[in-house]
Structure formats: structure tokens, C-alpha cells
């Protein structure tokens, strides 16, 4: 079994995810990109788990999937609220973190 293919796939997914997070203005797309990043991590976890012949990697991957679900839930709720307040989900208009 070659680890390389999995790692390259994960890296590609990660890069796409990062691009999405940084470049897209649509809040939902950003959330989806975050999912991509997390899944890239999952791929790595499972691949290393298989490579080392343990189940730890898969266990972690399951955890990550669960948390990602929760995260998306919260994220979508936030996006919904933003939309309700601003009638838009353009993230460049949101600068509430400015102190």
C-alpha cells in the first residue's frame, strides 16, 4: 500500500478548503470549505491508521465527523442569524470582531 496517494489527495482537499475559506465571500461556501479541510484531515487519519495497522486513526476520524456535523450546525445557525440581521451572507461586510 502506498501512503503517498492518500496524502496527496488529502493535501489537495486541504488546499481547496483553504482557498475556499480565505477567498469565498459566501458564508455557506466558507462552511463547506471548512468541511473540506476537516475531511482532508480525516483522509490522513484513516490512511495513517491503516498504514500503521491500528484503529486509532479511524476512531479519530469518527470523532472528527461528529464534531464537524456539530460545527456545521452551529455555523449554519450563525449564517442564518447574519442573514436575518443584514439581509446578506457576504462575509466581507461582517466586521463585528473589530475592537
Amino acid at each position: 500500500m502506498y501512503l503517498n496517494q492518500f496524502l496527496l489527495l488529502a493535501a489537495f482537499l486541504f488546499c481547496v478548503g483553504v482557498y475556499g475559506v480565505l477567498a469565498r465571500k459566501n458564508g455557506v461556501l466558507v462552511l463547506m470549505s471548512v468541511e473540506l479541510i476537516l475531511n482532508a484531515v480525516n483522509v490522513n487519519l484513516v490512511a495513517f491508521g491503516a498504514f500503521h495497522n491500528t484503529v486509532v486513526g479511524q476512531v479519530f476520524a469518527l470523532f472528527v465527523i461528529a464534531i464537524a456535523a456539530a460545527e456545521v450546525g452551529v455555523g449554519l445557525a450563525i449564517v442564518l442569524l447574519i442573514y436575518r440581521n443584514k439581509q446578506s451572507i457576504d462575509l466581507s461586510e461582517v466586521d463585528l470582531m473589530k475592537g
Partner: protein, 706 residues
Amino acid sequence: MLRNAFLIPLLPVISFALILFFGKRLPGKGHEIGVLFVGGAFVLSAICAAQWISRPADYLPPTGHAEAAAVEGAHAAEQASTEAATDEEHPADGEPAAEGEHEVEPIRKAEVREVVWFETGGVEIKAGTRMDGLSVMLVFVVSMISLLVHIFSTNYMHDDRRYTHFFAALSLFTAGMLVMVTSSNTLQLLFGWEMMGLCSFMLIGHWWEEKNNSDAALKAFFTTRTGDIGLLVGISILFFAAGHTFDTETINQTALSGTISSGVLVAAAAALLCAVVGKSAQFPLHTWLPDAMAGPTPVSALIHAATMVVAGVYLIARLYGVFWAGFHIGDGGINPVALIGGVTVIIAALLAFVQNDIKKVLAYSTVSQLGYMVMALGVGAWTAGIFHLFTHAFFKGLLFLGAGSVSHSVHSFDMKKGMGGLKKTMPVTFWTFLIGSVALAGVPPLAGFWSKDEILVGASGNGYPIFLVIGLIGAFMTACYMTRCVYLTFFGEFRGHGHPHESPKAITGPLVVLAGFSILAGFLNAPGIELFSKWTENTTVLAAGVAHHEFSIGLAVVGTLMGVLGIATGFAYYVRNLGPHRLTQRNQAALTGYKILENKYYLDRLYTDMVVGGLKGPVARATYWVNQNIIDGVLNGTAAVSKAVANFTYSVLDQKLVDGLVNGAGAGAEEGGSALRVLQTGRVQQYAAFLFGAVVLMGGALVLFV
């Protein structure tokens, strides 16, 4: 009594203390104590003298083998015994013929008694009395003249405002002189020496309300102190040279033994000579003595004629071994002692001619006579010098007291304006004064003749023709100026005010006694009798091998002729008005000479204005200026620089830099914050971009550098 000689100086010390503390409460204001105790001292001295004379002359000190003497001396010094070198039994080796121009006769053994004074550095320093002929003679003379002066003063000083103090100081002075002459060592000698200096200061400045008097007192003290530098140095040198001892006998014997290197001896002798020059008013430090006449007349008689001023002469006589060996006196060359004495004889006698104050005439005469004594010692005529000291004390004391008697009557010291014609009104004073003058002039058979003649004999016999000539010229001049003095005072018309009268008994009594001694004292050492030399000559003189010379009729005649010629010249010039008068008005050279004499050779100008004035004025001020501006300036400069540095530290370093840093940290943070503020847009994506960028950078760094 010779063993208990310490009592002699002790009595006047007690007298001093008693007068000081109780004098004012007594009916006589203290003079009874003074007269009583000094009288006691005189009686003891007389007993001493009698015992000394009756002492068998059976002691043969070591001579010839000088080295042996030195070993003896050193040995004795180390011994803790109370006796000094002379006590050592030493077989008389017999005088080797090679040494002997003189024969050694047995002498009287000195009586030495010492106690340990203190110890320093493990060396015992002793105090004690050493009674030999020289000491006994001086003790006798000093206590006697002091007693006479005490008696004289009871009347002379009667209405003085500080009568009691006067007697206290007289007693202390007597004590000082007696301590000096009885002392067995140089340290104690220094004690007495300085005690006299103090009393001289106190008594010259007795009427200190007048600035002139206190100036004279200070001058006397400073001048003698200047000489005392030499005494301190000389004593120090001899202390080590003689092997850690102050003992005079050991010092003399060591010096004569030749174990001390000649350089050291010359240094010691020269140093001591400085002291002599100061104390005995020799040229060029003689200037204080005439000024010292500012003191009361009895003081002048006692201190500045008969006793204290001969301390220098005594010092040479006492430490004769040092001078003898140091200056090679025995070899007949010209040496500093004789030279200074000779110069003093002439220059002081010259000055005596131009004085109008009777006391100043006598003062210069004293200086001149002291010159004789020093010269005598310098030419190797030890006995003659001491003998002249002895006779001079009587006739010069007499002359001063006579002058006092005159001034007591006419209230003036100026011979030209306040005296004249006193022969009739003051017969006792006149006759005694005349006896004193004739004795001083050296007319036989009075005291001065014998002693002066002996000096001349010594000078010629020891191969010092120059000093013989000086002595003769001096004799001529002495006779001449004394004639002038007697004439101006007692002959002619009375030029003063009031009615002169003969003085009371308390004043004339001492005059008569002294006159008696002035007539008779000279016979003590007249040829054929020669008791004086037998009584006084001590081991030092014998060890040195001082030569004795026969009385010479020819020299005596020449000496007498000079005296008589002097009197005649004086008579002719001053009384008969013969010879070239008013020379000073016609002849430039004479005028210059007169000016120089009148200004006392400008020595006073040199000392007072240049040396003292210079030290007191410019030098002291310059030193103080250096102190205030340079040394203190360095200090204050350091302080100023420190202060400047401190200011700089505070205002620049501290306030600007350090404080600046602290404050700057705040301000910087603020400004940096506002700069960074721009970055904080509040947009999450931007933050994430930073985050990511940072991760990339760090990751890159990790890859690149680790």
C-alpha cells in the same frame, strides 16, 4: 651637696610655683619668696663651690689613648649604673711624650647622679646632674647674680603693675639656667635652654601693652629659635653618633676618640654652632639682643648680659669635644667658631659707638664680649673663654644694674638727652659703674684684664695671629666706647629733667658687691695663682689636650696699652673734642659708613622686612592661595565636576534616557498599537489569512533552518 645638686634648680622652681599661686596675697607681693628661695639656691651653690674646691684633685682621667676613653664612655653609657664614664677606674697610662705639649695633672672627679627619666625604644633616657668645675662655677655665678638682681628689683620694680609676675618669671628663669648648667645630658640641657628662652620672652615683653616691647620679645624668641634648629639637629646627630645616649661626657669622649666619621662630627658641630649663634647673639643673629633691652633693666642685667646669653658659650664649653674634633680646633686652622667670634667682636663694638641709649651701648658691648668668649673657645683657649665668661658676668651685670640705677633716678635711658653730670649726685653708682667700665676696658688689675689677656695669650700661643689682632683691636674699641659712655653719663652738665638722686640701698648694695667681684675675680686665674683653671678644667679638656700657655709680660703690656690707648682716644675725641669731628658732614665715605652703622648693617632690614616679612606676607599668602585655589580648587573642582556629572546624569541620562526608555516603552506601545490597529479589520477571513500566512512562514522556517 654635690650629690644633691638637683636641689639648686629645684628651689627656684618651687619659688616660681609659690609666687605664681600665692604671691599676690603676700605683703611683699611675692618678692620675699623669690629672694628667700634664690638666696637658698645661692647658699647651696656656695656650699657646692666650697666642697668642690676642697675635693681632692686625685682623679686621672684617661687621656692620650683616646680610643680607650671612647670605649670606656660607651661602656659606661650602656651600664645602668648611676655613674658616668668618669667613675670608671682607669689606670693612668702616663702621658705619651708625643702628645704632650701639656702635662696631665690629676683633677677633681665630677659628681654625677642620674635617675631614669623615661624609656623609649628600649633605651633608657636619664636625667640627672653632673657637677664638675664648669657646672659648679656657673651655678655659683648664676645664683649669685640672680640673687643680687632679685634684691635690686625689689626696689627698682617697686611700683610695677605686674610686680608679682616679674618675680615669678625671674625665679623660673633662674631655675632654667640652673637646670641647664647642672644637667648631665644634652636633652636636659635643651630643657633648660628653652625654659630660659621662654622666660626671656616673658620678661622682654614684660610691658606688653606697648607693641614695641612685644615685638622685641617675639624677635628674641624667633631669633633664638632659629638657632635652636641647630640645637635640635645637633643633639639628634650626637645622640646616634655616641651610641644612643644624650650623656655629655660620653658624647665628648666618643667625639674625641675618632670613632665618629668626620662628616657627622662636622655636621653636629656646625648645627650646634647655629644654636650658639642664636642664643649667644653672635653675628649674624645678634640683632635680637639690643632689641631685648626693651625689657626691664634688671632683666637685661641678669638674662641679657650675665647669664642666659652665655648659654651658647657654655654649650661650646660643655660639648667641647665635638667642636674640638669636628672643627679641628687643635690644629690651628681658621675655624667657624673662632671666625664667628672674631667677626662679632669687631662688628658689635663698632655699633656700640653710635648708640645713644645707654642700655644699647652695653648690649652691643655684651655681644662683642660674647664674641670674645666664642673666639677664645674657637682658638682652643678653653679656660680663657670660660674665665672671661666668669669675670664678664660680674662687670657686665654691674654695668647694667648701674645703668638701671641711673635710669631709676633720671627716668631716661638716653645718654645725650637725659643724663650727664651724675658724678656728684650719684656717687655710689658712679664709682661702681666706673669700676665696671675699667674692668671691661681691660685695665689691670681688674677682672677684665686677666681674662682678656688669657684669651690673647691663647690666640697667639695656639697659632692664631689674626685673632690676636682682632682681640687687640676689640680691646681698644671697648675701652674707647666705654669712655664715651661714662663721660656722657656722669660728666658734663646734667641734660635731663628733675632732680637726680642716689638710689636706695637695695639698688646700690648689689652694685657694691658686684664691683667687689669685678675687682677681685680676675686674680683667681692670675699667673702664679691659676686656681680657676685647676677648678674648672674637666675630663673633656684633658682628653682633647687643650694647650696651656705661659703668661707673657709682653702681651699683657700690649693688651693694657690698647686699653689705655682706647681710653685716651675716647677721652681725646669725646671729651677734649680733638681729632676729626663732623667727618660725616664732609666726607661721603664716612657718611656711608655711619649710615651703615646706624642701620645696624641693614641686618634688621634683611630679617624683619625680607625674611620674616616675606614669610609672613607673600609666602604665607601664596601658600594659602595655593591651598584655597589649587588644592582646595582641585577638591572643589572635583566636587563641581561631580556635580556637573551628576547634573548630566540626572537631566540627560536619567531624565531623558532611562526615564525616556520607560516612558518611551509606553508611548511606543501606544503608537505601535495604533499602527497595528489598521490591521485589525474585524474580518475573520483576514485573520485567518494572517494565521495561515504565519503558519506558512513558520513552516518554511522550520524546513529551511532545522
